[in-house]
């Protein structure tokens, strides 16, 4: 495994992303080489460069490595969670090139050059993203395991509504507007078994109203 932070760039629009959000990358740089590193010589490893939370990283990966496992195991960005590993729960949601996706159902090597934002890139305990703050205020979580995925999804949902992307519950496909009902439908790919659902909706509503104001 090779991790080479090349530069610090804040590529997130309008979010609280900060270079300070990246302690885990620093750890990864200092991490000892492991068996995977040794196998690089076998020619089975594929190089890939990603921009994660504003920082470029270069990895040599087994092509089987999902974006989720690249984040969690190679970059040690464990904020992104593995709930099902099959696109059935949403815990692994990250924002790639401005769009939320399930990082478990995509290969890291397919993301050469992509900009990826994880929950660590949104904010830190010292400098929370407004959505993170709102989740705390509204108790929009319990066990915390689905929470990073919920938050990444929520941030992207507000962008999707602003961009006029309709949803299953949009009555008129040409008139997309924020409503609790829209949020519930759009957030349905993020399962919370503790079921903080109505608190999560309240948190998202608060942020949406704050953005409007």
């Amino acid at each position: 495994m090779t991790v080479e932070p090349m530069s610090r760039r804040n590529l997130l629009q309008g979010s609280a992303a900060a270079a300070a959000a990246l302690p885990a990358l620093g750890e990864a740089r200092a991490a000892p080489a492991d068996h995977r590193h040794a196998r690089k010589e076998e020619g089975s490893m594929t190089p890939v460069g990603l921009t994660v939370n504003g920082r470029e990283v270069h990895l040599h990966l087994d092509p089987r490595t999902t974006l989720l496992d690249a984040l969690r195991e190679h970059l040690r960005l464990t904020g992104t969670k593995k709930g099902c590993d099959h696109g059935q729960c949403g815990a692994c949601t990250v924002i790639v090139e401005g769009r939320r996706i399930n990082s478990c159902l995509t290969l890291a090597v397919m993301h050469e050059g992509d900009r990826i934002t994880t929950v660590e890139g949104l904010g830190t305990p010292e400098k929370l993203h407004p959505m993170q703050r709102a989740f705390i205020t509204h108790d929009g979580y319990q066990c915390g395991y689905c929470t990073p995925g919920q938050i990444c999804s929520a941030v992207a949902v507000l962008d999707e509504i602003a961009a006029g992307i309709p949803s299953h519950v949009t009555d008129d496909l040409d008139k997309v507007a924020f409503s609790d009902r829209e949020v519930r439908e759009r957030m349905s790919g993020n399962i919370c078994r503790c079921a903080a659902y109505s608190n999560i909706v309240a948190a998202i509503r608060e942020v949406a109203e704050g953005e409007k104001a």
Partner: protein, 738 residues
């Protein structure tokens, strides 16, 4: 400290920190992804190998042969654990089936091997290369078919197998109004978001497991017993747990196999049970068949009530104690409950959130709705008429410690607008929706358990609490911090709480909704000991000293905590032990659920339109997280009512829908805003906190309120859960669903 007489006034009653809504003190860690869960311990086990579990392909039989050669030769494979090389293993007392199967196979997906490799990708791939020959045997997988073979188990969890009071048969036969119905509930999966996961490392003969476990001390003992090593050599660390709901009460295959794997390959090994393996590899809430008989007078006043329950489990397993609440919830001189257990070769049945009541009330509270209709009495009023302030089996000499069911029903009904309900089913229409309202009582026993903690103050007056108590999303960090802050008179910000480490004092753990009350009582005990030490240092009599604003005060004299603690700091440790108050008083939590549903007039799709409830559970320690516990449990109740079912293939003996695409739980779009009212209550016989559990109360009855609302909307009475579209349609012939 022993709690054996009702609590009197104590520092908790000040209510400056306790009882006030607080944001979770672990909130920032959770929302930023910096709270480390079991599979994420790069900080303490930086270069782990990866284990992948291989599950049995048959439900019952034995392994004839295992050929490891292809897997061993696969890239990156470091070792393979099977029963042949794992060394002698015992079985934990709390496990029904062995966590590592072979040669005997007890259930489908029982772990039969762990493949350890340098990477997750290599381990997962090599796991498919094991060649295992099975010799299958005929198993028993169909509860309905095995019902006739069910026997009375020697005990059931939390109660007696059978109970009889008065003469049920005679009284029921004479009753002017009778309900006699059968109900079924399916196998259900906890489906917590974090899979079972463990990182294991050995240092000599000392084992550390960073794991996801609700009950640290239990599980230390279970791991030690299973591995046949001294308890002292086992450390469990479980600071963050991504949900449990009972699934993580016990040691599971991830923990045992990570330990065995790490021993084999000589480095840290981490193992998660893959999501598609979880329903069949781990435990589930067992299916039940229930018969409820209620005999009442024409006004609905109950004279005779009986609840018979059938469930199944592996040999040596336990029964689902679904008649428990029927012993205590309503009046009636003549009472009968029975539990029968069939032997099934399905995966292990065990506790899931509110074992017993969660499914028992799905039957009882629908039966009450049926009784209300039979008598022509409003369902809220019917429940009020049948309230009883003492244990109806024991009589008035065993009163409830506190019981505010009637208040819950009345205030809940008023808040919900129950008076607008049309008692005649199938009458209310809103566009394409038939609309109905339902009510159900909530009941969950209040359990307490010995719980210890230590608490310290440093030279700056900062307080630290340590206990092996766990926070599974319940809010333990915050309420324990609140308790310490209240007891020592400091703000919550001045308290650090450390949980989930077996090096800390043994707590009651998280389960059975006993955690909050018991573990805060443990911190109360430790804090009382620390107060005594601090008071002594200050030269004040302990019972006169007042702790507030970071000071110990006596009259106009005061000293800062930090100064008294000194540079060394000052620590105290104690535990709370509970006497026989729970025997002398019936202790339980109560509530009332209200639900409004819409049922599509054509397709029978059900949507929850509104949901609310009122709950009485003693002092509510942190109304913010307690409310979240209740709405979360209500939602799980919606899942039980509408969609959750592990479908059994009775030929192969397994749960077919074993992933989250096929085992459906509610999503955002299923759940509207939920209203929760906590009825003011202090229970002085429960603990010095005067609190009771609330984490499971919310699921108890919630699903029945949904079922009753569907009846009110459509006139379709369903008694087999979940109440899916196909069942509603099948039952609706000639009914209001068009």
């Amino acid at each position: 400290m022993k709690f054996d007489t009702p609590a009197t006034a104590n520092p908790i009653d000040r209510g400056r920190v306790i009882g006030i809504p607080h944001d979770r003190i672990d909130g920032a860690a959770k929302v930023t992804g910096t709270a480390p869960y079991a599979y994420e311990r790069h900080d303490v086990a930086p270069d782990p190998a990866y284990g992948w579990i291989v599950g049995s392909a048959i439900a019952k039989g034995r392994i004839g042969a295992i050929d490891l050669r292809a897997a061993q030769a696969a890239p990156g494979v470091l070792g393979i654990v099977t029963h042949q090389n794992a060394g002698p293993l015992d079985k934990g007392d709390l496990n029904t089936a062995h966590l590592l199967g072979g040669p005997r196979i007890e259930h489908y997906e029982q772990a039969v091997a762990l493949v350890i490799a340098d990477t997750l990708e290599n381990a997962r791939d090599a796991a498919q290369l094991l060649r295992i020959d099975y010799v299958p045997e005929q198993g028993r997988f169909d509860l309905a078919a095995e019902r006739a073979n069910a026997v009375a188990p020697p005990t059931i969890i939390g109660g007696r197998t059978d109970t009889r009071t008065g003469d049920f048969d005679t009284a029921f036969a004479k009753a002017p109004v009778k309900v006699d119905q059968s109900y079924t509930t399916p196998d259900q999966s906890h489906a917590m978001m974090e899979p079972h996961a463990t990182t294991a490392a050995w240092n000599g003969d000392k084992l550390t497991l960073w794991t996801s476990n609700q009950m640290i001390a239990w599980s230390v003992g279970e791991i030690a017993k299973t591995l046949k090593i001294p308890k002292e050599n086992v450390r469990l660390v479980s600071p963050y747990i991504g949900g449990g709901f009972g699934a993580k009460l016990f040691v599971r295959a991830d923990a045992l196999l990570a330990a065995l794997g790490s021993r084999m390959v000589g480095r840290a090994v981490k193992v998660a049970i893959a999501r598609p393996q979880i329903p069949n590899n781990t435990t589930h809430r067992p299916a039940t068949i229930q018969r409820v008989r209620i005999g009442a007078d024409r006004h609905g006043v109950i004279d005779a009530i009986a609840h018979d329950v059938w469930s199944g489990d592996l040999p040596g397993g336990s029964a689902e104690s679904a008649a428990q609440q029927t012993r205590l919830l309503y009046r009636g001189a003549h009472r009968l409950t029975t539990h029968r257990l069939a032997t099934l070769d399905l995966p292990e049945g065990n506790a899931m959130r509110a074992p017993g009541e969660a499914v028992g009330l799905l039957a009882l509270e629908v039966a009450m709705d049926e009784l209300a209709e039979a008598c022509g009495v409003d369902p809220v009023e019917l429940r009020i008429r049948n309230d009883v302030q003492y244990d109806p089996e024991a009589g008035p000499q065993r009163p409830f410690s506190s019981r505010k069911l009637v208040e819950c029903l009345r205030q809940g009904a008023a808040r919900f607008g129950w008076s607008h309900r049309n008692p005649r089913p199938g009458q209310v229409r809103d566009g394409r929706w038939l609309v109905g309202m339902g009510v159900a009582s909530a009941f969950r026993n209040n359990l307490v358990g010995k719980s210890g903690a230590r608490i310290g103050v440093d030279g700056q007056g900062h307080v630290t609490v340590e206990t092996d108590m766990t926070d599974i999303g319940t809010g333990s960090y915050t309420i324990l911090g609140q308790t310490a802050a209240e007891m020592l008179g400091v703000p919550l910000e001045a308290v650090t709480v450390r949980l989930g480490d077996s090096r800390f004092p043994v707590s009651a753990g998280s389960g059975g909704q006993w955690g909050a009350n018991s573990s805060t009582a443990g911190v109360y005990a430790a804090a009382m000991a620390l107060r005594a030490k601090l008071a002594e240092k200050a030269g004040f009599p302990a019972d006169k000293a007042v702790f507030e604003d970071g000071l110990v005060r006596l009259g106009n004299q005061s000293q800062p905590l930090g100064a008294l603690a000194g540079r060394e700091g000052l620590w105290a440790e104690d535990s709370m032990e509970f006497g026989d108050l729970a025997k002398r008083y019936a202790q339980a939590t109560f509530g009332a659920h209200f639900c409004e549903v819409g049922v599509d007039i054509d397709t029978a799709e059900v949507r929850i339109r509104r949901m609310g409830g009122a709950f009485a559970a003693g002092r509510i320690l942190n109304p913010k997280s307690a409310r979240s516990q209740v709405i979360g449990a209500m939602t799980m109740g919606v899942g039980a009512a509408l969609m959750e079912e592990l479908a059994v293939d009775t030929r192969f003996g397994f749960f077919v829908n074993h992933d989250m695409a096929e085992y459906l739980v509610p999503v955002h779009a299923d759940i509207p805003d939920q209203d929760v009212l906590f009825i003011e209550e202090l229970d002085d016989k429960s603990s010095p906190m005067k609190a009771k559990g609330v984490g499971e109360l919310g699921i108890c009855g919630a699903g029945a309120a949904v079922a009753n609302a569907i009846y009110n909307a459509t006139g379709v009475r369903l008694r087999d859960y979940p109440l899916t579209i196909d069942r509603i349609l099948a039952a609706s012939t000639g009914k209001r669903v068009a």
